[in-house]
C-alpha cells in the first residue's frame, strides 16, 4: 500500500499497467484456461475422503436378501401400470400398506406454459404415492427419502420393485432412528416438485396440488433410484441439481465407498474410472468427465429427480442403473444391499451432512476439485475485466494531450452526459425484458399467424427477439445529447465492463460452471471491443461469442463429450429443443438460467455491441 500512496511510484505502476495492459490480459486469459484444463490432471486433484464422522467410522452390515422377490414385484407393478394406463395408485397403496407403511397419496395438476414436445405433455395430472416407515421410538422429527419415478412405458419398473422390496425389508428392522419415506412419483420432476412443495407447503411455481396428510419431519437426505433392467453392469451417480446446486460431497463419497465395499462397478457421468492418469488418453478421459459435469452444471437444470430437493437444503442424488459394459453383471440383490448400506449410514447421521464440500467438480468418482482449486481459473479471467476497467479509468482521468498549438480539444473535455450512458443501458435491458416475456406472451398469436406448433412458436420468437435486439437503433442517445463522443464510449465501456465483472462474479459464486463458460466467451469480447476495430470482422466475432452462439456450441460440444456426435441439422433441432427446455425449466421448477441470460447477460452483451457501432 505504501507503493500506492507514493504518487510517483503510483504513476509508474499505473503506466506499467496501462502500457502492458493487452499483453497482461492475454497472459491472464491463457493462464485461466490452462489452470482450468489442469484441474482434471490427477496429481493436481485431491482424493475423496469421508469427512462425516458419523458415517465414516461406523460399521454396518448389508443383509438384504430379496432381490428376486423385488423383481417379481416390479413385474407385477408393470402389469398393473399397463392395466391402469399410468400410475397404479390403488395397487401401490395396497402393496405399501401390506408392507406395514403409513400410506398417503397426493394429487397434482399443472398446465405447462406451452407443450413440452420432448416428453409430449401439456396438461399434466398425476398422483404421487408415498409410504412412511415410522422409526420405532422416534418422534417424527427426521426423515430420509427413497424415491423412484413411475415413468410411462416399460422403464423403471425394477426400481419401483426394489423400492417396495426394500420397504418390506426395512420395516422389519429395529435400528431405524429416522422415518423413511418411500415415494413413487408420477411425471418425474413435475411430480417431485408437487410433492416437495406440498411437503414444505410452499408454492413457487403456481402448481395445483392437494395438501399432504402425513409427514416425517425435516428430511435429512434423499436418493432417487432409476433401474430399467433386471441385471445391470454399473451404477451411475448423478449429482447436478437445479441451478447447478450440488449435494454435499459426502453423499458421493458414501456411494463410492459402498460401491467399493460391495464390489459394484460405479460411474459418474456414465464414465468408468481409469487408472492411467499419466497417459494422454487417461488425461483426456478425466477432462471429458469433468467437462461433462461442467456442462451439466452450467445448464442449471436438474439432471435427475433428486435435483429439486437441493433447494430445500436436503442432500440428494440420483442413482441410475446402466446396462452397457457387457462383461460385468450385478443383480438386484446387490443393488438392494448397496442401498441398504447407504441408508443405514445415513440413519446413523447425528447432524445434517455438512462436513464436506458443497462446491466441487469431479474428474472421476475418486477425485474431486474443490472450490479453492477451481476459483483461480475464473479469477484469472475476471481480472482481465478489472484491468481493462482500470485502463479505461486512467484514460478518462488523465487530461487529453495538448495539441501542438496548445489548444485542447473542446469536445473531449466536455464530459459525456448521463443520458449517453443511460440510454443504451435502458434500451438493452428493455430488449432483455422483451426476450424474457414475449415468447410466452405471443405464442398464441404466433400459432394463429404462422404454421408452427406452440413450442416452435416460443423458441422462434425467442430467437427472433434476440436477433432483433442486434438491429435496434442503439445510437438513440445521439438524438438526446448530440454526437457520440470519444469519451462517451469509454464511459459506456467502463460501465459495461464493470457490470460484466460483477455479473460474472456473482454467477460464478453460485454456479461456477455457468460463470466460467460465460466468462470464457464474454471476456474477450469485453476486452477488445472499441468503435475503432474493423466493423464487419468484429461484428462477426461478437456474434460468434454471444450467449446464444455459446449455447449452440455447447450443444455440439456436449454431444461430442457424450460420444454421440450429431450432424448440423440434428444439432440445430437439439438446439431449439434445449431453448424450449430451458424456458420450461424456468417456469416449471424455477431454474434461473433463462432469466439470467435474458435479463442480465444478453443486455450486457448488447452494450458491447452498442460500443462497436458507436458513432
Amino acid at each position: 500500500m505504501g507503493l500506492l500512496s507514493d504518487p510517483n511510484r503510483r504513476r509508474a505502476l499505473i503506466s506499467l499497467l496501462t502500457r502492458l495492459n493487452s499483453p497482461i490480459c492475454v497472459v491472464c486469459y491463457m493462464a485461466g484456461v490452462a489452470w482450468f484444463m489442469g484441474l482434471a490432471f490427477e496429481p493436481f486433484t485431491l482424493r475423496t475422503y469421508m469427512s462425516e464422522n458419523a458415517m465414516g467410522s461406523t460399521m454396518v452390515e448389508e443383509r438384504f436378501p430379496a432381490g428376486e422377490r423385488a423383481l417379481t414385484t416390479g413385474r407385477e407393478f408393470s402389469a398393473h401400470k399397463k392395466k391402469a394406463g399410468g400410475m397404479p395408485v390403488d395397487w401401490l397403496v395396497k402393496t405399501m400398506q401390506a408392507r406395514g407403511l403409513e400410506v398417503f397419496t397426493q394429487r397434482f395438476s399443472r398446465k405447462l406454459p406451452f407443450p413440452d414436445e420432448n416428453k409430449e405433455r401439456y396438461m399434466v395430472k398425476g398422483t404421487n404415492v408415498y409410504g412412511i416407515l415410522r422409526a420405532p421410538r422416534a418422534p417424527r422429527t427426521e426423515a430420509l427419502v427413497l424415491s423412484a419415478p413411475c415413468t410411462p412405458g416399460d422403464s423403471n419398473n425394477q426400481a419401483v420393485g426394489l423400492l417396495l422390496g426394500l420397504a418390506q425389508y426395512f420395516r422389519n428392522q429395529i435400528y431405524w432412528a429416522k422415518d423413511i419415506i418411500f415415494l413413487v412419483n408420477e411425471h418425474d420432476l413435475i411430480g417431485m416438485q408437487a410433492w416437495l412443495e406440498g411437503y414444505h407447503h410452499t408454492n413457487t411455481t403456481g402448481m395445483d396440488w392437494s395438501p399432504l396428510q402425513g409427514r416425517g419431519g425435516s428430511i435429512q437426505a434423499a436418493l432417487s433410484l432409476e433401474l430399467s433392467s433386471d441385471v445391470i453392469t454399473s451404477m451411475d451417480l448423478v449429482l447436478e441439481g437445479l441451478n447447478g446446486q450440488l449435494p454435499n460431497l459426502d453423499l458421493a463419497n458414501l456411494f463410492y465407498a459402498f460401491c467399493q465395499k460391495i464390489g459394484v462397478l460405479c460411474t459418474i457421468q456414465g464414465k468408468l474410472q481409469r487408472n492411467d492418469w499419466d497417459s494422454v488418453s487417461g488425461y483426456s478421459h478425466s477432462v471429458q468427465t469433468m467437462m461433462l459435469m461442467v456442462m451439466k452444471q452450467a445448464s442449471g437444470r436438474p439432471w435427475g429427480d433428486h435435483g429439486l430437493f437441493l433447494r430445500y437444503h436436503i442432500e440428494a442424488a440420483s442413482i441410475k442403473g446402466i446396462n452397457s459394459f457387457r462383461q460385468y453383471k450385478t443383480d438386484v440383490t446387490t443393488i438392494g444391499r448397496l442401498l441398504e448400506g447407504m441408508y443405514r449410514k445415513l440413519n446413523n447421521l447425528l447432524e445434517r451432512l455438512h462436513q464436506s464440500y458443497f462446491f466441487y467438480l469431479m474428474p472421476s468418482l475418486s477425485h474431486f476439485v474443490s472450490i479453492g482449486y477451481y476459483m483461480p481459473a475464473f479469477g484469472l479471467l475476471a481480472v482481465i475485466l478489472l484491468l481493462r476497467a482500470l485502463d479505461l479509468w486512467v484514460q478518462l482521468a488523465t487530461p487529453p494531450p495538448r495539441t501542438e498549438d496548445g489548444i485542447t480539444d473542446k469536445e473531449q473535455v466536455s464530459s459525456p452526459g448521463v443520458l449517453s450512458v443511460l440510454t443504451p443501458l435502458v434500451i438493452s435491458h428493455l430488449t432483455g425484458v422483451a426476450l424474457y416475456t414475449l415468447p410466452i406472451q405471443f405464442q398464441e398469436m404466433a400459432v394463429e399467424q404462422f404454421p408452427v406448433s406452440e413450442t416452435e412458436a416460443v423458441v422462434l420468437t425467442a430467437i427472433g427477439v434476440y436477433t432483433a435486439g442486434l438491429a435496434l437503433p442503439h445510437n438513440t442517445h445521439r438524438l438526446l445529447s448530440g454526437e457520440g463522443t470519444e469519451q462517451g464510449w469509454r464511459v459506456l465501456k467502463l460501465v459495461a465492463v464493470l457490470y460484466l465483472a460483477v455479473l460474472l462474479g456473482c454467477t460464478a459464486l453460485i454456479n461456477f460452471s455457468l460463470g466460467f463458460i460465460l466468462a470464457l466467451t464474454l471476456v474477450p469480447v469485453a476486452a477488445f471491443v472499441t468503435p475503432h476495430v474493423p466493423k464487419v470482422l468484429s461484428a462477426f466475432i461478437l456474434v460468434i461469442l454471444s450467449p446464444a452462439c455459446t449455447l449452440l456450441f455447447s450443444v455440439f460440444f456436449f454431444q461430442e463429450l457424450q460420444e454421440l456426435p450429431v450432424s448440423f441439422q440434428e444439432g440445430w433441432l437439439l438446439y431449439l429443443s434445449v431453448i424450449s427446455q430451458g424456458i420450461l425449466d424456468h417456469f416449471l421448477y424455477g431454474s434461473l438460467v433463462y432469466p439470467l441470460i435474458a435479463l442480465l447477460v444478453y443486455p450486457c452483451w448488447l452494450l458491447f455491441w452498442n460500443i462497436l457501432f458507436w458513432k
Binding site: M1, L4, S5, P7, Q97, A98, G100, E102, R134, P136, R137, A138, P139, R140, T141, E142, R171, N172, Q173, I174, H200, H201, T202, R215, G217, S218, R311, Y312, H313, L350, E351, R352, H354, Q355
Partner: protein, 570 residues
C-alpha cells in the same frame, strides 16, 4: 395399625391385607390389541397415603410411599406434580387415543401451594432435585423453556386454587429416555421389580418397542366420600406399544413371555389389588383374536368416551395361575391388519418454507366428528430464537377465518423466556382447522449453539386439550338392545370426555456458522479488515499534493513583514 416389625410376617400370613396404616397400593396392567396389529400395554401402580404434607407438616415415617418423593413434596410445597418421559410419538391415526397422553421427550408440570413466595426459585431447585431422582436432564429446564399456561393445565387433584402464578410447565423434546430413567422409576415401587406386575418391566424388552412412556403423577385426593381430609396419591404409569413387524417375527401372536420375556407367578404381596385387563371390545365373538387362558370375569367401563369390555385376570386369586403356577397370557390374531383410524380429534404440526431466514409453523387440528363441533385449547410454547410474527397468526377452518374466542399471548424475551400462545378455538364438525404463524430465525451468539448445531433446534409439542363428544353419546341408532327408558334423551352424563393431544415436536435449522476453524476465520477477517480496509480507506480519502521544500528563515521573516504590510507573500 401394623408396625414395621411384623410387616414381613404379615405378608406371609395374610398377604391380602388392605389399608395398612392408611397406605394402599394397587397395580394393574391393561392390554389392548390395537387395530394395526400392534399391542398396547399400560401399567398403572397407585399408592394412596392418608397423610398431609401441606402446611409444613413434618412427615418422617414412610411405608409404601417412596420417601424420596415425599420429601420433595414437603420441602418444595408441591401441590401437584406430573412428570413424564417418553421415547417415540403416539400414532393416534393407527393406535387411537392413549390412556395417558404424553409428548416425546420429558414433560414436567407442577402446581405449587399458595404458601410458596418465590415460585421461580423453588421451581429451579425442584427441577434440579428431580433431575437427580430420575437420572434425567431436567436440570436443563430454566426460564427459557418454562411457561405458565393460563388455561391448558388445570389441577387434577382436589383444591380450589387455580391461579396460574403457581403453575410451571416445561418440556424437553430432546430428552432421550432409556434404562437409566427406568431403573429409578422402578425403585419407587413398593415391591421394586421383585414381585407383582413389575417383574415384567425388563428394559431390554421395553425399549425394543415402537413407543415407550413412563410417568409419575402426584396429587392430593379425597380420603373418603365426605372429603374432609386429603390423601396423597402417587400414580406411576408406564405405557408401551410393541410392534407387530419387529417383535413377532411374522407370527401374529402375542404372549406375556414374548412381550416381556417373563411370565407372572404372583401379585405384589403389598398390593390390595392386582389385576390384568384385556380389552376385548372389538372382539365380542372372538373373530379378531383369541385370548388364552380364557377368563369368566368381565368388566365394563367407559374409557375415553367409549364403552369398553375387558376380560379381567385377578392375580390375587391363586386360580388365575392355574396348575402350572404361572400366567402367560396369549393373544392370537385371526384377522389381518385394518386401515387407518379416524380418531375424533387429532393434530399434526410441521414447519413450512425453505431457506434459513423465515419459516411458518402450521398446526393442523382435525375434528372428525360427523355433526358436533367442540372447542379446543391450543397451547404453543416456542423458544425465543424463533421470533414469531404474531400479526401473521391465522386460524382457518373450511377455508374460512375462524376467530379464536380466547387468546393469551406472552411475547418472548431474548435469552430469557419463550413465546407462549394459548387459544380457545372452536372446531367445526368434520373439518380441518389450520393455525399458521410465521417466524424468523434468530442468529445465536456463537457460544449459544449446541455441540451439534447442524442437527437443528427443537420446538416442543403443541398441547391440544379438549372436551370431546363421547362415542357413547354419538350412538344414536336405536337398534342396539337396551331398555327403552334409557334411550330417549340422546345426551348422557358421560356425553363428553377430556382428551389431551400432543403434536410432534419440530426440528428447525437455524443459520449456523462453520465452526470447523473459527480461529482461522477470526484471524483472517481481522487481518483483512486491518490491512486491506485501513490502507484502502487511507488511499481513497487522502488528497495528494506535491510538497514544496520549506522556505528559508529570511524568506519567512520577509513574509511576516509583508503580511503585516498587507502585501501578498513571496
Amino acid at each position: 395399625c401394623a408396625t414395621g416389625i411384623n410387616m414381613q410376617a404379615a405378608h406371609w400370613l395374610a398377604p391380602r391385607m388392605t389399608r395398612q396404616c392408611g397406605n394402599d397400593f394397587q397395580e394393574e396392567l391393561v392390554i389392548r390389541p390395537l387395530h394395526s396389529g400392534d399391542i398396547y400395554a399400560s401399567f398403572q401402580f397407585r399408592t394412596v397415603w392418608e397423610t398431609d404434607f401441606m402446611r409444613g407438616n413434618k412427615v418422617s415415617h414412610y411405608r409404601l410411599f417412596p420417601k424420596s418423593l415425599g420429601q420433595v413434596i414437603s420441602k418444595f410445597s408441591v401441590r401437584e406434580l406430573h412428570i413424564s418421559f417418553t421415547q417415540g410419538y403416539w400414532r393416534t391415526m393407527q393406535w387411537g387415543q392413549p390412556f395417558q397422553p404424553s409428548p416425546p421427550g420429558a414433560e414436567l408440570w407442577v402446581w405449587f401451594q399458595d404458601s410458596v413466595t418465590d415460585v421461580d426459585g423453588t421451581w429451579k431447585e425442584l427441577t434440579n432435585v428431580l433431575s437427580g431422582i430420575f437420572c434425567a436432564s431436567l436440570n436443563f429446564i430454566d426460564s427459557t423453556n418454562t411457561v405458565q399456561p393460563s388455561a391448558s393445565f388445570k389441577p387434577l387433584g382436589i383444591g380450589n386454587e387455580t391461579d396460574h402464578r403457581f403453575l410451571r410447565y416445561a418440556t424437553l423434546p430432546r430428552e432421550i429416555v432409556c434404562t437409566e430413567n427406568l431403573t429409578p422409576w422402578k425403585k419407587l415401587l413398593p415391591c421394586g421389580s421383585k414381585a407383582g406386575l413389575a417383574v415384567l418391566l425388563k428394559s431390554e424388552k421395553l425399549f425394543h418397542s415402537s413407543f415407550h412412556s413412563q410417568a409419575v403423577h402426584i396429587r392430593p385426593v379425597c380420603q373418603d366420600w365426605q372429603c374432609k381430609t386429603t390423601s396423597w396419591e402417587l400414580r406411576q404409569t408406564l405405557n408401551v406399544v410393541f410392534d407387530l413387524h419387529n417383535s413377532a417375527q411374522g407370527k401374529r401372536e402375542w404372549s406375556l413371555f414374548k412381550m416381556f420375556s417373563r411370565t407372572l407367578t404372583e401379585a405384589c404381596p403389598l398390593a390390595s389389588s392386582s389385576k390384568i385387563y384385556i380389552d376385548i371390545t372389538d372382539n365380542p365373538q372372538g373373530e379378531q383374536f383369541e385370548v388364552s387362558p380364557a377368563t369368566p370375569l368381565l368388566s365394563q367401563a367407559v374409557v375415553l368416551g367409549d364403552r369398553r369390555t375387558f376380560s379381567v385376570y385377578d392375580l390375587t386369586q391363586q386360580i388365575t395361575f392355574g396348575t402350572v403356577r404361572s400366567l402367560n397370557l396369549l393373544i392370537r390374531w385371526k384377522s389381518s391388519e385394518g386401515d387407518m383410524l379416524r380418531p375424533l380429534l387429532h393434530a399434526e404440526r410441521y414447519v413450512a418454507g425453505y431457506g434459513l431466514q423465515t419459516g411458518e409453523i402450521h398446526t393442523l387440528m382435525y375434528n372428525n366428528h360427523p355433526y358436533r363441533s367442540f372447542p379446543v385449547l391450543l397451547l404453543d410454547s416456542v423458544p425465543w430464537y424463533l421470533r414469531l410474527y404474531i400479526h401473521t397468526l391465522t386460524v382457518t377452518s373450511k377455508g374460512k377465518d375462524n376467530k379464536p374466542s380466547y387468546i393469551h399471548y406472552q411475547p418472548s424475551k431474548d435469552r430469557l423466556r419463550p413465546h407462549l400462545l394459548e387459544m380457545l378455538v372452536q372446531l367445526p364438525p368434520n373439518s380441518v382447522t389450520e393455525v399458521t404463524v410465521q417466524f424468523e430465525r434468530a442468529l445465536l451468539k456463537w457460544t449459544e449453539y449446541t455441540p451439534d448445531p447442524n442437527h437443528g433446534f427443537y420446538v416442543g409439542s403443541s398441547v391440544i386439550s379438549s372436551l370431546v363428544p363421547s362415542i357413547v353419546a354419538m350412538d344414536t341408532n336405536s337398534t342396539r338392545e337396551r331398555p327403552l327408558f334409557s334411550s330417549f334423551f340422546p345426551c348422557k352424563e358421560e356425553s363428553s370426555y377430556f382428551v389431551r393431544v400432543y403434536t410432534e415436536p419440530l426440528l428447525v435449522n437455524l443459520p449456523t456458522p462453520d465452526f470447523s476453524m473459527p480461529y482461522n476465520v477470526i484471524c483472517l477477517t481481522c487481518t483483512v479488515v486491518a490491512v486491506g480496509y485501513g490502507s484502502l480507506y487511507n488511499l481513497l480519502t487522502r488528497s495528494f499534493q506535491i510538497e514544496e521544500p520549506s522556505p528559508g528563515l529570511a524568506k519567512r521573516i520577509a513574509n511576516i513583514i509583508r503580511k503585516m504590510r498587507g502585501v501578498p507573500p513571496l
